[in-house]
């Protein structure tokens, strides 16, 4: 058991408090210093803390926080990335405006992100999910450029649709469960008469967050516009909230076969769509964003497998492991773009080399951390899906090759530019963690190092990359026409249509009926004022009353 609710509450309260602190006038100047500190309690809890549940009954509708090994992994990886990105931001954001606002919302988003992993009841989960979704808007639009505002708007719309849909799903499930606790809710979904509706609604909510194609459109728009540390946590930690939600809420076992298949194929399609769309991008962070879409696709597919698997927790653990690596690695890649900005072209080569290693790790090159996690994940798939998963690595490799290629052009023009320690240290720490951590955690996923290092597994890690290299080489040589896919792909036509519709200004006003009195009572009154009329009426009244009285 967790020792009382205080510690987990502190995990959430500390970032929130720091966020509030940051906006105080006196603290504004040093607001950024909060960033690396805020996630530390979470990290501490995840690494050193006990596992179990704790209730804070008065908060929300009865808050329950809890931690098991899997959520601790999510929590730790996220908190660690948040910490590194925060550290990075202290230097990277130093000269921008509204730092206190940035800090405040960073902390709020952070608290939400951590809350998602800790929540054991649906309400806390939802509240955290909201907290991680909406304040992130502020992080995205921080630069306040037109593009950033557009990206923010689209993000917001999608996030709100997602929130609403998710809440609707929760409500439908909540009635069935008669308890707000996630296990009960999850169990209730499988028996609920509207189970499919609930799952659909939840999937929309979580899928938007997790970048599930076709709900992914905000990612390639938001990532290039957000400040680099924000992109890092968006891609590395925040999207994982959606994934974690699926793990938490989706029931497993019999009856879920359909949803399993759906998720597997949706995920796989996403994985490949991300690759193809990403290859056409020219913005370096857009490429990374599509890579995230692709990678999340794989993870969602794995979740899909788990739903109908014999041992779902095992598969979920594999996903968790994969996600931890991906988070750190992708975070590192994003950070690297920031470092590149501050590095003169000539001195870019060491960075490029390191980035190449991380890219290979993401693509699953054997002996890297990514290689280990990919091998582990592939163990969940069977049949043609397994092949597709394996083959996707070729695409990932290609995509990251493109990234690597584009990164070279990010270098600073000023020869004297220099990325300080505060920028590079987090980058390298993230890279180190990404490369090494999976090996440490293999046992958690129930796998042995030996399994990873089995030749067949090594081989299946290498051949896609080789294939990718061949294709890449061929492409370089042939220079095929690049289809112009704008960032955000599907959203662009939708946006255009909406804008056109909005031009026809819709107004909700009822026509006001103009009533003109048809009969002027004054005329009647003038008539009645005349004694001859009134007297006649009086007589008529008297003479009329007589027979009426006899009736």
């Amino acid at each position: 058991m967790l020792p009382g609710p205080l510690l987990p509450l502190a995990v959430l309260a500390v970032p929130l408090g720091m966020g509030l602190l940051a906006v105080l006038p006196r603290m504004r100047a040093h607001a950024l210093l909060m960033l690396p500190v805020a996630p530390l309690p979470a990290l501490a809890l995840a690494v050193f803390g006990a596992r179990g549940e704790a209730d804070a009954a008065d908060i929300l509708l009865g808050m329950r926080l809890g931690l098991d090994d899997r959520s601790a992994l999510f929590l730790a990886a996220s908190a660690f990335l948040w910490m590194l990105a925060g550290l990075f931001a202290t230097a990277y954001m130093r000269d921008t405006g509204k730092r206190e606002v940035f800090t405040g919302f960073w902390c709020l988003t952070l608290a939400g992100n951590l809350g998602v992993f800790l929540a054991q009841d649906a309400i806390t989960f939802y509240a955290s999910f909201t907290a991680v979704s909406l304040p992130a808007y502020i992080l995205i639009v921080h630069e306040a450029t037109r593009a950033a505002l557009r990206a923010g708007r689209i993000y917001m719309i999608l996030a709100l649709i997602g929130e609403t849909s998710f809440l609707a799903g929760l409500i439908l499930a909540g009635v069935q469960a008669e308890s707000p606790m996630i296990p009960e809710v999850s169990a209730a979904i499988s028996t609920a008469p509207q189970g499919d509706l609930i799952l659909g609604l939840l999937l929309v909510g979580l899928g938007i967050k997790a970048g599930l194609v076709p709900l992914h459109v905000w990612l390639p728009l938001a990532h290039p516009e957000a400040p680099t540390p924000a992109s890092a946590v968006l891609s590395g930690a925040i999207v994982k909230a959606g994934l974690f939600g699926m793990i938490q809420f989706f029931p497993t076992g019999t009856g879920m076969e359909g949803w399993s298949t759906l998720l597997v194929w949706a995920g796989l399609i996403g994985a490949y769509f991300g690759i193809f769309a990403g290859l056409t991008q020219t913005k370096v962070k857009a490429v990374l964003a599509y890579s995230t879409v692709s990678q999340m696709g794989l993870m969602i597919a794995a979740v899909g497998v788990a739903l109908a698997a014999n041992d779902p927790p095992h598969v979920f653990n594999l996903v968790a492991l994969y996600a931890a690596h991906h988070g750190l690695a992708k975070g590192a890649l994003f950070l690297s773009t920031g470092v590149a900005h501050r590095t003169p072209r000539k001195r870019l080569w060491p960075l490029l080399a390191v980035v190449a290693v991380v890219s290979l790790s993401v693509a699953g090159f054997p002996f890297t951390g990514g290689g280990a996690t990919k091998t582990a994940l592939k163990s969940a798939f069977h049949g043609p899906e397994a092949t597709l998963v394996a083959a996707s690595a070729a695409g990932t490799g290609l995509l990251l090759l493109r990234f690597w290629y584009l990164l070279r052009f990010q270098a600073a023009d000023a020869p004297g530019a220099r990325a300080g320690l505060a920028l590079s240290a987090p980058l390298y720490a993230a890279i180190a963690a990404a490369l090494l951590l999976p090996w440490v955690l293999l046992g958690f996923a129930g796998l042995e190092t030996a399994y990873i290092l089995k030749p067949s597994n090594l081989l299946s890690g290498i051949w896609p990359l080789v294939a990718g290299a061949v294709i890449g080489g061929a492409a370089w040589a042939l220079r095929p026409p690049r289809p112009p896919v704008p960032p955000g792909d599907l959203v662009v036509p939708v946006e255009r249509a909406v804008r056109r519709a909005a031009h026809r200004h819709l107004r909700f006003a009822f026509p006001r009926p103009q009533i003109r009195p048809a009969l002027r009572p004054e005329r009647l009154e003038r008539l009645l004022t005349r004694w001859d009329t009134a007297g006649l009426l009086l007589l008529a009244f008297a003479l009329g009353l007589t027979p009426l009285l006899l009736l």
């Binding site: 001859d532 006649l536 007589l539 008529a540 008297a542 003479l543 007589t546």
Partner: protein
């Protein structure tokens, strides 16, 4: 049978005169017909045996009302007022139908009456001895239903206050009516000198006799008022200014005495109770007061509000 013929003839005359009064083309002739109508009615009342009413109708209905109307006609003539256009034929026909309908309904109602009558004559007769007077009408007026008469006397006062209240503000405090300029040797002046002593005598007598025979305060008071009016018209006596205390006391004397008697009775245990033994003197006292007030009030009513400022 002959009596019936006479009745019918009289009634036909009355109806005819009434029609003439109502429909007469000239206002003045209408008023004259109205006076004649009143006199015929007086005859009718005599014929019906209601001598008190006959007297009252002659004095009040025909006499004073007539004078009032004649005076009004002459005032209007002097003001040169316009006569409104006659009603259109449609209105006449409708009105005639409606009025005829009313009469018809009344005839119907009369027809359904019990022919033997259920009046209060026997009850009055039975209680007459306790009333203090011998004229049953006076008994009803001043004892059995004295309360009605009290209010009635007040009504006259109300009318007078009302008439005075529409005086021209500038003329407040002046004398009522227009200044009369009768030629000192004219017929009116002669009559004015001749008639008053006689009228005074008749008037007082009628008041006095009212307790036992037909007559009473109202009839007598009216005659007294006529006397005063004659004097005023003859220019022999100016009415006192309306602010004069004595005039006002005279006006309220009758109702005042009446009210005092009523109040005294109420204190003693019965509102307007006239103990049998004191009934006659009390009634006479009331009659005297009333006659004075009625005479003054009626005369002043006819004279109207002051038409000239105080001197």
């Amino acid at each position: 049978m002959i009596e019936s013929v006479f009745d019918i003839l009289l009634c036909a005359l009355i109806v005819g005169v009434a029609l003439a009064a109502v429909l007469g083309p000239r206002l003045f002739s209408s008023v004259v017909f109205f006076i004649v109508y009143g006199l015929f009615l007086s005859v009718a009342w005599t014929h019906l045996g209601a001598f008190d009413v006959a007297l009252a109708e002659a004095a009040i209905g025909a006499g004073l009302t007539g004078v009032l109307l004649v005076a009004a006609v002459s005032r209007l003539d002097r003001l040169g007022v316009k006569e409104p256009a006659p009603a259109p034929p449609v209105a006449r026909v409708t009105s005639a139908l409606a009025a005829g309908g009313l009469s018809g309904a009344l005839v119907l109602a009369l027809w359904s009456l019990d022919p033997d009558g259920t009046g209060l004559a026997p009850v009055v007769e039975a209680n007459l001895h306790a009333s203090g007077v011998r004229n049953p009408v006076t008994a009803v007026l001043l004892n059995f239903r004295a309360y009605d008469t009290l209010i009635e006397s007040v009504v006259l006062l109300v009318a007078l206050v009302g008439v005075w209240s529409i005086a021209d503000e500038r003329h407040w405090g002046g004398e009522p009516g227009l200044r009369q300029h009768a030629r000192p040797d004219g017929v009116l002046a002669t009559f004015g000198r001749l008639l008053p002593p006689l009228g005074l005598l008749v008037g007082v007598y009628i008041v006095w006799t009212g307790t036992d025979d037909p007559g009473g305060a109202f009839q007598g008071g009216t005659i007294l008022a006529a006397v005063w009016l004659l004097l005023a018209m003859a220019g022999l006596s100016d009415a006192p200014a309306i602010t004069r205390r004595r005039l006002r006391l005279a006006v309220i004397a009758g109702p005042g005495v009446f009210l005092a008697v009523a109040a005294a009775g109420a204190v003693g245990g019965g509102f307007l109770v006239l103990p049998t033994e004191y009934a006659k003197p009390l009634i006479q006292e009331i009659e005297a007061g009333l006659a004075l007030s009625i005479a003054a009030t009626l005369a002043l009513l006819v004279l109207g509000p002051p038409q000239r400022g105080p001197r």
